[in-house]
């Protein structure tokens, strides 16, 4: 591993009509770090995620991933480079089983799917890795349940398992703990801790305790711009941040 940043965002802007959701945003994520992005509601966090994942394209600015300019790259190509996201609002395959949900992610990671003959459901090269991701996250006992029968927190975990099955180099987690209970949240935090160091993570999160416990770096997003970046202690003591964001809570 070199010290080169895995992600460099420069001068990124995106407007919706008169609203500048992201306005000249700069962000650098170092390889291997867990970089949290915090900010009040409407700061542009999810718009940023959508642009990183390619779901919407920026008005201007650039996104470079591992030195490659991906600003205009199609959404579906990015996961194959190792840039993988999860969704703020749970996005799974509700009618499929838990195992099938992860198996399709494994399948996406293992080449094209113009394969018409071999039975994919009986394919050990898909189900075995899928099962191991479920074990990793603690859902293996529910492998054969339809995904829509899972509790909300379990669906969030499933979503993460699907993301991991894509073997990400940079994982963008959009509020992975949204709507979770305290127990589930704590479980997720310890799981994310166990992931640290194995890959780079961009974490969008509201819960300050979680952010300060997990992050190597924190960027504070306000009105579409990063107003401060630093290690947790620096952010905690930054007066600009306190007035703009943390002040409201304390």
């Amino acid at each position: 591993m070199t010290d080169a940043p895995i992600l460099i965002v420069e001068n990124l802007s995106k407007s919706f009509g008169a609203l500048k959701a992201v306005d000249g945003l700069n962000l650098t994520v170092q390889t291997g770090e867990l970089h949290a992005i915090i900010g009040p509601n409407g700061a542009g966090k999810t718009t940023l995620v959508h642009q990183l994942s390619g779901q919407i394209s920026p008005d201007s600015g650039s996104i470079r991933f591992q030195g490659l300019d991906i600003t205009k790259m199609q959404e579906a190509k990015r996961p194959h480079l190792g840039l993988v996201r999860s969704f703020q609002i749970t996005s799974i395959f509700p009618q499929s089983t838990v195992l099938e949900n992860v198996a399709i992610a494994v399948q996406m990671q293992s080449g094209h799917s113009f394969r018409f003959i071999k039975n994919a459901r009986a394919d050990k090269s898909l189900s075995d890795p899928a099962l191991s991701y479920l074990q990793q996250i603690g859902l293996e006992s529910l492998a054969n349940e339809p995904a829509h029968t899972l509790a909300h927190g379990q669906q969030r975990q499933l979503e993460l398992a699907m993301a991991l099955a894509l073997k990400p180099k940079l994982l963008i987690l959009d509020e992975p703990m949204a709507g979770m209970g305290a127990d589930e949240s704590a479980q997720m935090v310890s799981f994310l801790k166990s992931l640290k160091g194995t890959l780079s993570i961009v974490l969008i999160e509201h819960d300050m305790d979680v952010v300060f416990a997990l992050s190597d770096q924190i960027s504070v997003l306000v009105y579409g711009q990063v107003i401060a970046t630093g290690i947790p202690d620096e952010i905690r003591n930054n007066p600009k941040v306190r007035t703009a964001y943390l002040g409201e809570e304390e």
């Binding site: 994942s53 779901q55 996005s91 099938e100 394969r115 071999k118 039975n119 994919a120 459901r121």
Partner: protein, 336 residues
Amino acid sequence: MSNKRNTILLVLLGAILFTMPLLLDAIGQSFLLGSATRILIYAIAAMSLNLILGYGGMVSFGHAAFFGVGAYVTGILSFHMFEDTTIFGLAGTNSAAIAWLASIAISALMALIIGALSLRTTGVYFIMITLAFAQMIYFLFVSLQRYGGDDGFMMFDGRSRIAGLELGDDISFYFVCLAALAIFAMGFKTLVNSRFGQVLKGCHENEPRMRALGCPTYRYKLVAFVIAGAGAGFAGALQANLTEFVSPDYVHWTRSGDLLIMVILGGIGTVLGPFFGAAAFLMLEEFLPIIFKGLGLPLLQEHWRVVFGPMLILIVLFAKKGLYASLMDWGRRKND
């Protein structure tokens, strides 16, 4: 799971279909063999629609277009064979191997073009644009004066030829269609269980998620659309052979509606559902007027559709998951 019941159903169905010519002969109704053959053919067309409708979630309201293209290709080749003329510099043919493959290839090509444009839209827009394309093809056929315009044309050369088989014999032709349906159904089952099938189902359930997983969904949906179009084209070639007659009526928009009803009636997203849907639909269409005649209700005999429509609605209301699912669940408690 209901695997055992499925096997019983399959064996029973296979036995009935395989002995159909004998059964009809035994009850002295051999003339119904044509209707039975028609059910097999429409089952192939409905199955092909089910690939995109039931598995891919694409509501195509123009599927009859590919059925019609298939029928016209086989019909036109036969027409020129009989006339001993050429089309685009090519001689006509009555060889099943060539004509049917040409039907499949050209309907696949049409599906590629129509699909490539239509799949840029979704939802109601997709429904409307597929309907619009089917209407374009309908009016194209109507305008072909050489081939009878809106009257269509007879295949005076008779059915296609296969070495060693006499397709002009209704029983032989029935078994060719039965074999075609069996092969198509097995291929279909293989396809929906393959990796390709998983992608298609994923696109149906949650397409944005598929893209975020790194799947270029458009091209997978397009390939499914082409396969479905090719299947319908094959069914069209068989239908042209069955009636030895081809007309724009095959492409009429109500035909696309019929195919949709067959799929929904039989069971969307199931391998065998469309077969039951096609069988129920075509049998009702055939026998309702006869039943009303037998009951001495001439008014209903003439306006049998007045009863047909509400019957379809009732079936769909009470057998929500389709006839196939109802057969599988029949006599079973709800709580399992």
